[in-house]
Amino acid sequence: MRRDTGDLDERFTAFVREHGERHLRMAVLLTGDWHAAEDLVQASLVKLYRAWPRLDTGTDPDAYLRRIIVNTHRSWWRARWRRETPAAALPDRAYGDDLADRHALGALVRQALAGLPRQQRAVLVLRYCEDLPEAAVAQLLGCSAGSVKTHGHRGLRALRRRLGGEWPRPEVNQAPDPQRGRG
């Protein structure tokens, strides 16, 4: 039967407004582009909405949504539903501090991430975008902590190789981090 009472919708809407963008940022790193990220988060939100009335007080909806996003992305990947088309080689690019250059850098990083094996990419995103400890990542991905460590290590090296001379960039360190201190 219909569960979307006004109160439920209000609380759910407030949750999405407060936390949605942060999950969108994680999703774009998983998928490689904003359109796919939007699709992924929206599909996950629909699943969260359906489960919302049954979430007990001990369930953190933020963590629950993260789990849905990760699992949904995995199922899409298995279904070969992938819009990202990693380039064989990344273009040379010089960066400054203006907005356009930051966007170009962002696109380059997303492209490099998209070229990694799915599990390495997921580990990197959960470890360094979501700041989850290795044990939590292992639980989310259904693997051992040792496997997370291995994937993380290999992923970092691979990302570094793919970014070549763009890594590390001193100016990147000065980039504002929109995720810290949110939701």
Binding site: M1, R2, V16, A51, L55, I68, V125, L156, W167, P176
Partner: protein, 315 residues
């Protein structure tokens, strides 16, 4: 290698900064809540059409699979005739569909949808209303939706084209219709008839009766591939019954089945039950006032349906 490992703490800080840069340029066009609403609507329709499509498809598949049964030719003939009769006149219907998701991400989610409405396949008119008040009207090749979506101020109906709604379909095509503005009308008797054209047998189970009618129950049990033969696509396992009254019209249909995971949709255990009544009774469906209708892609004015498609349909 050693050098890389020694650099790892720095690398972790660098990758955090890189990820922040790579996720900072969120497009202002992205509206998660609005897009989610659209997906909820699509899911409900997808669920209904998948449930009803599977129910319809199993009828055809059952007769194919049970070809060897001795009693089957007469059962098939009666069922084909019943569907043909039902498809040739207007009818009212009720439908209840339930599904339980089998996702591994948490508590199974049970969804139930109750529907009622009426269709006049000859005049291509139809209406269905959920128990929660969402209404869908079918007029010609258009579908009008009310209560499904949040629309701009002053608009309470969304109009969308539905060019395939009345067309006969095949089992495989039915099962691939997993999204879009579709309806329980996809399981209409005329579509059952189209499915039965390629069928050969069903099993007669015994006598049955309902309010004001008596008849015969036919049973089926089937495994049906969703995709083209040999494509390696998953299968639907289903079983159910169809009741045909003494005048040879389909009165009731039920099915229970398991749907495999499809795309982002998790596997589901589902049931569907439909009843048909009031055969030949007038079906009256009219288009909403044009001023209340949002019709994407037809700016600036919002046209109503083609005149020949609107208005009430006499029985």
């Amino acid at each position: 290698m050693k050098e890389e490992e020694n650099d790892m703490p720095d690398a972790e800080q660098q990758v955090r900064a890189l990820f922040a840069a790579a996720s900072a340029d969120v497009s202002p066009d992205i509206d998660l809540l609005r897009g989610m609403q659209a997906r909820r609507v699509a899911h409900r329709f997808r669920l209904r059409v998948t449930l009803s499509a599977a129910a319809a498809a199993v009828v055809a598949a059952a007769v194919v699979i049970t070809t060897a049964l001795a009693q089957a030719p007469s059962a098939l003939a009666q069922l084909t005739s019943a569907v043909s009769r039902t498809a040739a006149q207007s009818y009212h219907f009720t439908a209840t569909t339930t599904s339980v998701t089998l996702s591994g991400t948490g508590t199974p989610v049970t969804t139930r949808t109750d529907l009622s409405g009426a269709f006049d396949p000859v005049r291509r008119l139809g209406e269905e209303t959920t128990s929660t008040g969402e209404q869908t009207r079918f007029i010609g090749s258009y579908v009008y939706l009310n209560g499904h979506l949040t629309l701009p101020d002053g608009k309470s109906w969304l109009r969308a084209p539905s060019p395939t709604l009345w067309a006969p379909v095949t089992a495989n095509r039915q099962l691939r219709l997993t999204a879009g503005l579709l309806s329980v009308a996809e399981t209409s008797p005329q579509n059952l008839l189209a499915l039965l054209e390629s069928a050969s047998q069903v099993n007669r189970q015994g006598s049955v009766s309902g309010p004001g009618w008596t008849g015969t129950r036919y049973a089926f049990s089937v495994t049906l591939a969703i995709g083209p033969a040999g494509s390696g696509q998953p299968t639907v396992h289903a079983s159910g019954t169809i009741d045909v009254d003494q005048l040879g019209r389909v009165r009731r249909l039920d099915a229970a089945y398991t749907l495999p995971a499809m795309g982002s949709a998790p596997p589901e255990q589902a049931t569907a039950e439909m009843t048909f009544s009031d055969f030949g009774a007038p079906v009256s469906v009219s288009a909403p006032p044009a001023s209340d209708v949002l019709a994407p892609g037809s700016a600036p004015a919002v046209p109503g349906p083609a005149p020949s498609m609107s208005g009430s349909a006499p029985g």
